[in-house]
């Protein structure tokens, strides 16, 4: 993975010193809270309901074990012994003291990490495919480009005070696992007819209040021009994006207002002068950065089919875990393991310091000392020997990290919601908890099969509810919390925004609402038809009819609410 040279170290250390001084000036009232807010946000520090929340960048989701141990240390020393992995491949701590943040940033810098631009109206952490470098369906490793973009966007002087936040994702595989269509800029690594490498550039995707699927503004951009072309997009946005209304300030609103054609024309016009500027990426630079992402030294191993078949035959639970949590690796004899952070009873994406230490030890022993964070809020060991799978399963299970539910109903995406976030209209973690509890039975989950259930506590859509096969959105009605349900959303190549089924529900009704949606699916599905495909075929009507057919009672949700309070 990428490692800092003296330049990276210097820049990050100067950032720590700068922020230490800003915190000092805030505490002595030389800076007002209004002046300090954007400065702390650009270091990932939010003021939440109970305390400050610190969001630490995990660039494109890649972590070394040294870094993960430091994240565990920070949770232990400065927080309440746990961290929350987010849908943007970052980690958040919910109980931070302002006075201690400079020390936390210094600790992070010691392991080549930071919280730079993890919030604020600037270019955020660049995200990518959690299986980059090991996926069989990959054209080329996207991480060198993600790292080049990370450096370019770090402290870009012109784009630090944009109209609104700005998110960039890169995908290089046949199956889009980076949700590129839901980003301000989405990049698909492609080859043209001449076999040259470049990017298909999408702009103006996003969830939030106005969910929009991104539009292609360029089918093929030679990779050398990546930085200058993005500079052109950013400049058009910085100059013309709306600043009068924060709900209309994202680039998607500008693209919609101008029309894709006119927006594209302006970008291309801006780019004419920039094309071939010194920002043009050189082959040398790409090769230099790519050298950090060389595959590890794999052993030449046979496929362990026979052994695994035996092990699966003897251990049904292991077999279930294999089917859901283990994926084929491009290298023979190896496998990709997803460790679930979605155990029923635990807020989705949360990991304790002890779990992080265990994960780091496992990654050292089994996966070349690296891990990945997924936007579905799970962790991945990307390079494990097939012969180690049973041992990995056994260890992970002992620490609550082997729930065999990847892609199933309880593998929910969920934002921190009203328990923590001051933006939220409603709680989301207790809803996830109640649904997980109701459908905890694994046989039932396997029968339902692949389904994405996403929960956001407010319209900002951190829980990606629009693209969930079932999406749940917390809304505020006259001061009480209600939940709006949509179905038919999907992420990936066929990204689509879900449709709302009707009036919203009270928290305690939600498990029954989900049960009724699934009843329609079970009743009307064709053989091997996934939930989402059934929704596409049937439309929302039969689901709507059944959900609203009779009144829904429900018990009040107590469990889970105080999980980390």
């Amino acid at each position: 993975m990428y490692r800092y040279d003296t330049y990276d170290h210097q820049i990050v250390q100067e950032r720590v010193a700068q922020f230490r001084d800003q915190v000092r000036r805030r505490l002595s009232d030389e800076l007002t809270e209004d002046e300090f807010r954007p400065l702390r946000l650009q270091n990932g520090l939010y003021m939440q309901r109970h305390a400050y929340m610190l969001r630490v960048a995990i660039p494109y989701g890649l972590l070394s074990t040294k870094q993960l141990r430091m994240l565990a240390h920070i949770a232990r020393k400065y927080d309440r012994d746990y961290g929350h992995f987010t849908t943007r491949q970052n980690i958040q701590y919910n109980w931070i003291n302002l006075e201690e943040t400079p020390d936390i940033l210094a600790d992070l810098a010691s392991v080549e990490m930071h919280a730079i631009q993890t919030s604020g109206n600037c270019i955020r952490n660049i995200t990518s495919d959690q299986f980059a470098g090991v996926a069989a369906d990959e054209l080329l490793d996207p991480r060198p480009f993600a790292e080049i973009l990370r450096q370019w966007s770090t402290f870009h002087p012109e784009f630090a005070y944009l109209p609104r936040k700005f998110k960039i994702a890169i995908n290089a595989a046949a199956e889009d696992r980076a949700v590129v269509k839901a980003h301000d800029i989405g990049l698909n690594l492609v080859k043209n007819e001449q076999g040259e490498t470049g990017f298909q550039v999408l702009v103006g995707g996003g969830l939030g209040r106005t969910p929009i699927i991104g539009s292609v503004i360029r089918e093929f951009l030679p990779w050398q021009h990546l930085l200058s072309y993005i500079e052109a997009i950013m400049r058009v946005y910085n100059e013309y994006g709306r600043r009068d209304n924060k709900y209309k300030a994202r680039i998607k609103i500008l693209v919609k207002a101008l029309g894709v054609e006119e927006f594209t024309r302006q970008v291309e016009h801006e780019w004419r002068d920039l094309q071939d500027s010194p920002s043009t990426i050189t082959v040398d630079e790409l090769n230099r950065v790519a050298s950090y992402f060389e595959p590890p030294v794999y052993e030449h191993l046979p496929d362990a089919d026979v052994l695994l078949a035996e092990q699966r035959h003897e251990n049904k639970a292991f077999s279930g875990w294999m089917s859901r949590n283990v994926r084929p690796h491009k290298k023979q004899g190896y496998a990709i393991v997803t460790l679930s952070l979605k155990k029923t009873g635990i807020p989705p994406g949360d990991a304790t310091s002890a779990q992080m230490d265990v994960l780091a030890d496992m990654a050292d022993r089994y996966s070349f000392g690296e891990l990945r964070v997924t936007h579905e809020q799970n962790l991945v060991l990307a390079d494990v020997k097939q012969t180690d799978l049973l041992a990995i399963y056994t260890e992970a299970k002992a620490h609550g990290l082997a729930t065999p539910n990847i892609g199933l109903l309880t593998d929910m995406i969920c934002c921190p919601g009203g328990d923590f976030c001051s933006l939220a209209n409603a709680k989301s973690i207790p809803i996830a908890g109640a649904i997980a509890e109701r459908f905890d039975n694994l046989d039932f989950q396997h029968d339902i099969g692949e389904i994405e259930l996403n929960i956001s506590g407010c319209i900002n859509a951190c829980g990606h509810h629009h693209v969930g096969n079932i999406g749940i959105l917390g809304v505020d009605k006259d001061g009480s919390e209600w939940y709006q349900v949509s179905i038919g959303g999907r992420q990936g190549n066929e990204s689509a925004i879900g449709k709302i089924i009707g009036p919203s529900f009270a928290a305690e009704q939600m498990p029954e609402v989900i049960a009724r949606l699934l009843e329609v699916y079970v009743r009307d599905r064709h053989e091997d038809e996934r939930f989402i495909d059934a929704v596409d075929r049937l439309g929302i009507e039969p689901f709507k009819a059944h959900v609203y057919a009779t009144p829904i009672g429900g018990q009040s949700l107590e469990a889970g609410e105080e999980a980390h309070a």
């Binding site: 490692r3 040279d5 330049y7 210097q10 820049i11 100067e14 950032r15 700068q18 800003q22 030389e30 800076l31 002046e35 954007p38 400065l39 109206n121 450096q151 370019w152 966007s153 770090t154 402290f155 870009h156 002087p157 012109e158 784009f159 630090a160 005070y161 944009l162 109209p163 930085l227 400049r235 910085n238 100059e239 600043r243 002068d273 500027s277 010194p278 920002s279 990426i281 050189t282 630079e285 090769n287 230099r288 050298s291 950090y292 060389e294």
Partner: protein
């Protein structure tokens, strides 16, 4: 006399900033004698008389375009860009357009809500003068220009990105 930061030093400054009152017309407003920064609208309306004065500069609001001064960048001694609030980042791109597109080489001054913690970025995009907010220490603000000693990307102050400027190690060389 107020102080500003110019070319990394604190100096006295005697430019006055003319602002139109509500309802006042750009055509008829009287531009005072002495060094005066006039709004773009006044400049465009009264250019025929103002152009002969060597003590006139123009200030742009954050929603105005650098291109409006295309004809004038070679002769104006001073252009200012107003930051109505420090969080309004349009001024950075206006500065880019003035410096890089239009080749303005005179004094480029940030006015308005200009504070220490934005000066480093402002200097990078081409501002060389800063009328920092008068209720804050200008000596303190000066420190903001030196927050970082190295940068990754190109800007007005650095035409070559780090990866072309220095030999950075690859994975083998770093190890």
């Amino acid at each position: 006399m107020r102080k500003i930061i110019k070319d990394k030093a604190i100096i006295n400054d005697d430019w006055q900033v003319l602002k139109l009152a509500d309802g006042e017309s750009a055509e008829t407003t009287v531009v005072p004698a002495g060094k005066t920064l006039v709004p773009l609208s006044v400049w465009l309306a009264q250019k025929s008389t103002l152009a002969s004065r060597a003590d006139i500069g123009v200030w742009l609001a954050s929603d105005e375009r650098a291109e409006s001064l295309k004809e004038d960048v070679a002769t104006l001694p001073l252009i200012a860009i107003d930051f109505p609030t420090f969080a309004d980042g349009r001024g950075y791109s206006i500065a880019y357009q003035l410096r890089t597109r239009l080749g303005f080489e005179g004094e480029l001054r940030a006015i308005g809500d200009v504070l220490r913690d934005q000066l480093f970025y402002m200097a990078r995009v081409g501002f060389n003068a800063f009328a920092t907010r008068e209720d804050r220490s200008i000596e303190d603000a000066l420190k903001g220009l030196t927050d970082f000693s190295e940068t990754y990307q190109t800007a007005w102050d650095q035409k070559t990105p780090l990866f072309r400027r220095v030999a950075r190690p690859n994975a083998q060389e770093l190890a």
